[in-house]
Symmetry: C2
Subunit: 327 residues, 2 copies
């Protein structure tokens, strides 16, 4: 199985499927705002994971599509609302929803996508007992994402954050959705408890690796000038794993440098570069890379219990894809 080929094929299938939840109705502005992000592209890694996890326990991928659609609708809703909170201007190379349609329509269209996500999962062909588990897991996942986003915002105001708290935050903000994408596929596919638990562990580890690798990619750029995002993250005091490591290992002069510049919104380009350099000097960038690889191995270990299959091979390839991709 070739991952890139499978990703393309399944993304096309998924995109055709979930459009039924994104029809234009009136008032048109509300629906255009709701369609903006879903139609702006995206790799659909989470729906991909759900259908492949379903197949990895000998399930039919078609049966997992409604739940996958629910997860992707919910993912898009959280992005629309997060972009308002984070004052983000661009996503997927397009203006964010609140920039293009105004904040009221952005809040409402996020709410609409959230409502539609429950309509999607209601279409899953399972018995009531299984449905209840899927919907409760889905609700717990949304709540975890809300908690994670709140923590992420609060962390920006704090001087330091212990690594364990950082991991708790990303396990909620990013990990929970990967975890349920994988576990949900296993449940719908009829996996036994051991298989479902393995897929759940795999999904969470994959999500953590994904998020930490994201942070690592941002900071491992070899460009001679810093990207705008990196500068902003340093000026906003964004607590990535790299920053968390650096803050806890800096002493003396380094500590004073961080005190002065990290989280200082009016820091100069020159000062920001000093912090960027310190991230490397203290081994924080390399540390993040190693932690991402740790979760990659955890994900690989988790699925050793699955029977050999094309789907299992795709799950393996997906792990490597996560840490090979460029942003």
């Amino acid at each position: 199985m070739d991952l890139q080929n499978e990703l393309m094929k399944r993304t096309a299938m998924f995109n055709t499927y979930w459009q039924q939840y994104l029809q234009i109705k009136k008032p048109a502005t509300l629906y255009e705002a709701a369609r903006h992000l879903p139609f702006a592209g995206g790799k659909r890694i989470r729906p991909f994971l759900t259908t492949v996890a379903c197949e990895s326990v000998s399930g039919d991928a078609q049966k997992a599509l409604p739940f996958a659609a629910g997860l992707e609708l919910m993912h898009n809703f959280t992005l629309v609302h997060d972009d308002i909170m984070d004052h983000s201007m661009l996503r997927r190379n397009l203006p964010t929803v609140h920039v293009k349609f105004g904040e009221p329509a952005a809040i409402l269209s996020g709410d609409l996508l959230f409502a539609k996500s429950f309509e999607a999962i209601l279409g899953t062909s399972v018995d009531f007992s299984m449905f209840k588990q899927l919907q409760q897991d889905f609700i717990d996942c949304v709540i975890a994402i809300c908690e994670g986003q709140q923590l992420d915002i609060e962390f920006e105001q704090r001087k330091t954050v212990p690594e364990q708290e950082y991991l708790d935050m990303i396990s909620k903000k990013t990990g929970a959705l990967f975890e349920l994408s994988s576990k949900g596929g296993g449940l719908i596919g009829g996996g036994n408890p051991q298989e479902v638990a393995a897929l759940q562990t795999y999904g969470m580890a994959l999500g953590l690796a994904f998020q930490i690798w994201d942070d690592y990619l941002d900071m491992s750029s070899t460009a001679t000038t810093l990207g705008k995002d990196i500068g902003n993250d340093i000026r906003n005091g964004k607590k990535t794993l790299i920053a968390v490591h650096c803050l806890s290992h800096a002493t003396g002069k380094e500590k004073r440098l961080l005190d002065d510049i990290f989280g200082n919104r009016s820091a100069s380009e020159h000062d920001v570069t000093k912090v960027y350099d310190l991230f490397r000097e203290l081994g924080s960038v390399e540390y993040a890379q190693q932690r991402a690889l740790h979760y990659v191995n955890q994900a690989k270990d988790a699925i050793t219990v699955l029977k050999p299959s094309d789907a299992k091979e795709l799950l393996h390839q997906l792990i490597d894809y996560i840490i090979q991709r460029e942003k």
Copy 2:
């Protein structure tokens, strides 16, 4: 049956019940923001309606509590988000959630209440087929509320709005939730199709009467100075039924007065009073009162098919309560 007594009794029972969905967890700020409005009081008319509608078809009110909790959680979520969009500073005599906790926590706590509303309805003891209908109705109701809020916002930018479009807007923004509160109680109580349809019609008519009476109360004040809200509504060009009627009946000088002042954010107190007076002179205030009474009668007619019971008597009293209450 005494309505006030029943309202108090059932509100107390309901408040005890739905607190299970409002427990404090971490991060505390998120949960405190989510609890702010639910614990700020409120008459709980919608949950009251759900339990009474359930009893009116010989159902057990206890069985309707989870769905009633879902509706009230959802109602509170829409209020939190609406207050952000409308820049409202006060609700139930307290600072709004975004004023007290900041906008990010307000958006997130609304999302959290929305997620919890689905957890609540998942607890309804019905078979899968009935559950699917209840959840789909619930989703359609949220979507209607989002559409209604978007229309309400868009109306402020328009010079005139036909009465039919105004009615469509409030049937979504306010009517849909009353409709489902009543219909849902009937479904859970095991009502036959004719009874459920009657309760549905009753709920919508009650909701329309409620909203139009609200507009009427605002404008029928006999105080010599205008309240701040009335002045703001006139300056913002808010399309209440009174404004809609007045805009479509004004001619000549009256029309020019409205053109100049209605929707003019810098209009003087003196000018605003002229519009307020015009609302009465053209019979728009009286018209709104009559339309509210029309829906009151529609609600009364709808439930003639229900068997006589204490609950039916309460549904009758609730209609009169809606148009007797002071704000």
